[in-house]
Symmetry: C2
Subunit: 410 residues, 2 copies
């Protein structure tokens, strides 16, 4: 049972149980500070306790389990990933990293073993940023880097982050209690699915992340004039949707022209939204990411220029707001080397690669050294119900993590 | 009180009372077969009774008032317009035509006068097509031209037209009872706001409609592949929103290049709709109208080709459905001439113009001769809370309608 194979099998069954906790029947959607968030925390808390950890929910809604060291209370190794999901998500993104970390502690406790350092496993409460449009709320609470204005951000129903915390039974004023002092932390180790096609192409189960690409998020509001679809000549229109469409195509063209740059318009809303009315207001989001911060900034500037030009050409107004920006976050050379030694020790060929996706490790790099292990994604598919990582690759992941724990004993 | 001035003043006050009946506080939205539809019918029914008419709600939810002839029961003159609205509508569109028709009957009954023919005033229940995405449901019930499949159309909540009728207390099986035999109808006269800028540019209060432009409505569904916004390289994406954006711009470009052609994408929805997910499914509507049916068909064919090409280029699939098509509907020369004589008789310079917007008169032309009077719209603005027609122009409209009633006595 406590072999990597037995633990991986248990992880796969637990993933199905977690995936059944969803806001929408039939698909997986679990946003921050919802009833489903609470139910997922309760389930994970029980698994942490079964693995021999003392578990509690912190002031930001993260679920945190602690496995003490053999002796004393020196700096802890933090491990984990996130429990929230995108809309209509896959079931491996985030959850797999939390469950593999718990599995490692279960392997230790099952063998009656404690290490020279404590282990803290964290199920982060918000990484995807679906509800409040800004990522890493869970891990930023852990690192103590949430700023005051974040609490006033509202979700699609107009509920502020502050209010949502209160509705969940938490208090924004207490959020500082979730922070971990850097002196208490040895490092952070995250296992996550790759969410891209690189490992599959290399025919390898796992990889070592070198850096998490930087990211800029924009919100764009185009204001035109609503009018009757039949009576306003084309030349006299101020069509907010036509202007927005030009922006969408500019994101596609500009980012395709950059080196290792990707850009996405994931949300686009038209108002009033009737067949026979020219849209007067359209809002959309832009997400741009790149390996090099300079390339990302160049692409964002070009996108903003194109959006403004498309709006102006149609007599509409574009308001562009940069509401999230993260520079590229490098993983620590020490942790990369440690993971590499661990992979070699369990007979898996090590390979290094950057991460195109954001991860809690990027936020955690403000607090401590971070290391990340990627597991192969079937077809590179993610943020999609077809997302899949095989049980065999999960066995490899648990083996590597356990070997990292041993390496860090030295 | 029963002078055109007094009646116009009453019409303006009644318009405010009707506009207060809305599904959404603060803005005007009143869709077919809602509680607000019922309340508007009750209010208008009371005004019909006060004007000396026998009023009833018909099998399609139209409100119908009858003012008998001096003698006998020959073919009736039908008058009226619609009581439903678009989302966030202006208060003159449709409603003004119903209230002016009632005002004309009130002028007759107040003077103790009956004509040689009966008058039937109709407040049509659905002209905009907001709820079921297909227009003229009210007037098509009157003309007996609703087809069986229409009853299975569903609204945004998945409620079918058939079910919505039932929830309203009506029965789809009885819809034939709403039909008026052609032998019972003399003609249909509709007064409506222009919803465009022509009369304002001519400095005239009213105009004579020559024809209602034809219209084609498409629903488009683009299917791509949802994926992670950070990890899927631009070249490997199947982005449904980028394909749809190309479609939106094609509608704009192609229709701007046609003669008296307009095209609008009024609704566009992205799924799953999250900042960090490449949209896998996007649906949108296209509304194309033109004076000449051939020009409209050419534009629609070019739009469909462009949508298909934009989808194919990105490895996405486009499904295009034509769900509404109406040929250009000419007004009757006899009714145009009658309105022209009426305008001259009350000292208003007659001018003739086509209608870029669809109107109940287009559907009614399947049943009988139709005539339409346009009243000037401030700034040509419509389908917008800023929609406005002055009380002075409403006086002109009532004078013209009363003069038409006299002309038809001949």
């Amino acid at each position: 049972m406590n072999s990597p194979e037995g633990l991986a099998h248990q992880v796969m069954r637990r993933i199905d149980r977690l995936a059944a906790i969803s806001e929408t029947p039939g698909v997986l959607t679990r946003r921050y500070l919802t009833d489903e968030h609470r139910r997922a925390n309760e389930l994970v808390s029980g698994w942490m306790a079964a693995a021999g950890m003392a578990a509690h929910q912190d002031a930001a809604g993260n679920i945190v389990g602690r496995y003490e060291a053999a002796q004393g209370t020196g700096p802890a190794l933090l491990m984990g990933s996130h429990l929230d999901t995108v809309v209509n998500a896959g079931k491996f993104d985030g959850m797999l990293g939390v469950l593999c970390a718990i599995a490692c502690v279960e392997a230790l406790s099952g063998a009656g073993r404690r290490l020279s350092y404590p282990i803290v496993v964290i199920g982060f409460a918000d990484e995807e940023g679906v509800r409040f449009g800004t990522t890493y709320l869970g891990s930023r609470a852990i690192t103590g880097t949430l700023d005051a204005e974040t609490f006033e951000r509202a979700d699609a129903d107009g509920i502020s982050f502050r209010q949502a915390l209160s509705d969940f039974g938490l208090d924004a004023e207490d959020i500082g209690q979730a922070a971990h002092p850097g002196s208490d932390v040895k490092a952070f180790l995250e296992l996550h699915i790759e969410q891209g096609p690189v490992l599959e192409a290399l025919d390898l189960p796992a990889g070592i992340v070198t850096a998490i690409n930087g990211q800029t998020r924009l919100s764009v509001a185009i204001t035109g004039v609503a009018g009757h679809a039949g009576t306003v000549p084309m030349a006299l229109r101020k069509d907010a949707l036509a202007a927005a469409a030009e922006g969408v195509l500019a994101v596609e063209t500009i980012c395709a022209g950059g080196a290792d740059v990707v850009g996405t318009v994931g949300i686009l809303r038209t108002t009033p939204g009737a067949i026979n009315v020219i849209p007067g207001d359209v809002s959309f989001t832009v997400d741009v990411r790149a390996r090099e911060d300079g390339d990302r900034r160049d692409a964002v500037a070009a996108v903003i220029r194109a959006i403004r030009a498309g709006a102006e050409k149609r007599g509409t107004e574009a308001k562009v707001t940069v509401f999230h920006e993260a520079t590229s976050a490098p993983c620590s050379p020490h942790m990369m080397d440690t993971i590499e030694r661990a992979m070699i020790s369990v007979g898996i060929e090590p390979t290094r690669m950057p991460s195109g996706a954001g991860h809690d490790a990027a936020a955690m790099s403000a607090l401590c050294d971070v290391g990340m292990i990627f597991l192969r994604s079937d077809g590179g598919i993610s943020h999609n119900p077809a997302e899949r990582t095989t049980e065999e690759d999960v066995v490899a992941g648990i083996k590597i993590m356990l070997a990292v724990l041993d390496q860090l004993e030295g």
